[in-house]
């Protein structure tokens, strides 16, 4: 699920950036530092949408670096248990398949793949129904439901299922065309 929230961060800025465009430098550095990171609490920080305010800088003893407390608005993405996501399959193996929904990695074990789909080995391993009409392989798009998340301080990993109504492959060429 996506959220638009305000976060705060202490930015350290090198003295060489002090000047007219100090603020720009600060924002650029903030974006570089923060976008794409993941915190267990808020999820993945997708994009910074604006700066709320920049606090008073504090000059560090000895280094000359200045610390600014910066409040910024950003879009975060955090997966939840029970959430339905669309994801791209990245790897298929005997144990199930891995998929990515943006920054989140999701694993679907073969127990959570419908029973009528069987694993086929080959140079393009895939799960196929007995009549061959549905195939899950690398680059397929699937709709899945998250049934478990593991949230570490800097990492979120999910497991999902496609063993439910309306879940499964959505990139079927016949269906999309």
């Amino acid at each position: 699920m996506f959220f638009h929230i305000v976060l705060e961060r202490n930015m350290q800025l090198h003295p060489r950036h002090f000047g007219r465009d100090l603020r720009d430098k600060l924002v650029t550095k903030l974006m570089k530092d923060v976008e794409g990171t993941c915190s267990g609490r808020h999820g993945f920080i997708v994009a910074i949408t604006g700066i709320e305010n920049v606090g008073k800088g504090l000059i560090r003893d000895g280094t000359g670096f200045v610390t600014f407390p910066v409040k910024y608005q950003c879009v975060v993405f955090r997966p939840f248990k029970g959430e339905i996501l669309e994801a791209v399959v990245t790897m298929v193996n005997k144990m199930g398949f891995f998929a990515e929904a943006g920054p989140v990695q999701i694993f679907v074990s073969n127990h959570l793949i419908p029973d009528d789909m069987e694993f086929q080995t080959g140079d393009m391993p895939n799960y196929t129904t007995s009549d061959g009409s549905v195939k899950i392989q690398k680059e397929s798009e699937v709709r899945l439901k998250i049934i478990g998340t593991r949230v570490d301080a800097t990492e979120i990993f999910c497991i999902g299922t496609i063993k439910d109504d309306f879940l499964g492959v959505i990139s079927d060429p016949g269906a999309t065309s």
């Binding site: 193996n93 005997k94 199930g96 694993f107 127990h111 478990g148 593991r150 299922t161």
Partner: protein, 479 residues
């Protein structure tokens, strides 16, 4: 043990009995290798043992075995099983026959054992004895957790979609869940690999499905679903008494026996308070025996008392001592130091005896002291009274002392070394009854030889005021 507590014990006992019948009915403690003949089939033992334990508190395992007419090995195996199941706490300790006596005393106090069962054997050999006791608080949690797990497993199976797949390493039997999947994939093949031994992980088959028809075909799955539903229903039905009992017990205070030592002390103390203590000849003689032993110690401290008396000569130091009445002797000190003044000893005698008997046998005094604080309390009150009386007296003495001091020190110069020590003892007992303990504490350092030296110096400077500095000098020399 309060009466309300006794009320709450019964439901817990019932809980244990129900749980025993529900879960440990068919536990056999024999190894799998032995053939299960009719004779060696010991199912049901577990229930018997648990029932027996509900009727006891802490019990020596040998005694329990004797009561149950079981072989002690068999009982121990069962108890070890229960220990692993977290139903029972056990304690092992090395002890002599005397140590066993405390236990028997405690048992007698609870009134549910056979009192004085082993009065006879007075062997001084150390034996390791094991004791066991039901841990009601934990049992409550264990049973609840077990029920929760059972239900969860069945429900998960039933829904069969919200399960997090588990993987096991066949080599080191380490378990992983699907949530670890990202760390387990290997670039070379399509299996998961164990992190520690690199073995290929196998998916843990559906726990119940594997037992029955594991085939994926539809009708089998339907049947399995039916079966699971039945099972869940049966479980709810059959375990209802247990669950009800859990609900009943929920708000009651859990009967707590504490550790073995705490329990023994508590019960022994309770017994002493009931007046049992004096009547038991073996017990009291034991106490006196202990009271007698520290006599050399007392003698030793007398020397140190003399030293402190010398210190007392320095008026400054003494007044410091006098100013520290807030430093009330902690109870453990009163007990340990048998060199208390008469009035103090008279009051603490009983206490010392009782505590002494336990201290003599058990190495961990610290534990005892905390446990005995309660019995000490009233004694302490009396002690405080005596303390203030003594303090008052001392203040009166002090005034008299100031002029007598001069005379005395003069006498010491004439009499030499041996005499003053004697005198100091006398003076000390008059002057400073109450802070003897303190003196002993901070005067332990200077050796007896110092006495003479100290006096010599003192003889040179008779002024009381100067003695403070003298002390410093001496310390310097020693350090």
């Amino acid at each position: 043990m309060g009466s309300h507590e006794a009320l709450s014990v019964e439901p817990f006992k019932r809980l244990v009995k129900l749980a025993a019948r529900a879960f440990y009915d068919d536990i056999t403690t024999k190894g799998d290798k032995q053939p299960k003949t009719g004779r060696s089939d010991n199912r049901g033992i577990a229930v018997v043992v648990l029932d027996a334990l509900t009727r006891r508190q802490w019990v020596r395992e040998e005694d329990l075995a004797k009561d149950l007419k079981l072989h002690s090995k068999q009982l121990r195996r069962t108890l070890r099983f229960f220990e692993e199941e977290k139903l029972v706490t056990r304690d092992h300790r090395k002890e002599t026959a005397k140590g066993a006596k405390i236990y028997s005393a405690a048992i007698a106090a609870t009134g549910d054992g056979q009192p004085g069962g082993r009065e006879g054997d007075e062997k001084l050999k150390m034996h390791t004895h094991s004791y066991c006791c039901l841990d009601y608080a934990q049992i409550y949690d264990v049973v609840r957790y077990r029920l929760h797990r059972m239900k969860k497993m069945l429900k998960d199976e039933l829904e069969s979609k919200n399960t997090v797949q588990e993987y096991i390493c066949p080599n080191c039997s380490k378990r992983y869940t699907a949530l670890d999947a990202l760390r387990l994939i290997s670039p070379h093949d399509e299996y998961f690999h164990c992190e520690s031994c690199d073995g290929i992980l196998v998916a843990e088959a559906d726990k119940l499905a594997a037992q029955e028809l594991g085939d994926g075909d539809d009708s089998a799955r339907k049947r399995r679903q039916e079966k699971l539903k039945d099972m869940l229903q049966n479980m709810e039905e059959q375990l209802k008494p247990l669950i009800d009992q859990l609900g009943r017990v929920k708000d009651l205070t859990v009967p707590e026996f504490g550790s073995l030592q705490a329990w023994e002390l508590q019960n022994a103390a309770g017994r002493a308070a009931n007046g049992d203590h004096g009547n038991d000849p073996s017990k009291s003689s034991q106490g006196l025996g202990f009271g007698g032993t520290p006599m050399p110690y007392v003698g030793e401290t007398k020397v140190e008392v003399a030293l402190s008396g010398i210190d007392g000569k320095g008026e400054n130091i003494k007044s410091e001592n006098g100013n520290a009445p807030s430093k009330v002797l902690p109870p453990w000190m009163i007990r340990q130091g048998m060199e208390l003044s008469d009035e103090q000893r008279g009051e603490t005698k009983q206490e010392a005896k009782m505590a002494g008997s336990s201290i003599a046998l058990e190495s961990s005094d610290d534990k005892n002291t905390t446990d005995e604080k309660d019995d000490v309390k009233n004694i302490q009150d009396e002690y405080v009274k005596a303390y203030y009386a003594a303090l008052l007296e001392r203040q009166r003495e002090q005034e008299a002392h100031d002029d007598s001091q001069q005379q005395m020190s003069n006498a010491s110069t004439s009499n030499g070394v041996a005499m003053p020590t004697e005198r100091q003892v006398g003076m000390k007992s008059k002057l400073a009854d109450e802070y003897e303990g303190d003196d002993v504490e901070w005067d332990e350092e200077p050796p007896a030889g110092n006495t003479a030296k100290n006096f010599k110096v003192h003889d040179l400077n008779v002024e009381a005021e100067a003695s403070d500095e003298e002390e410093d000098d001496i310390d310097w020399e020693e350090g």
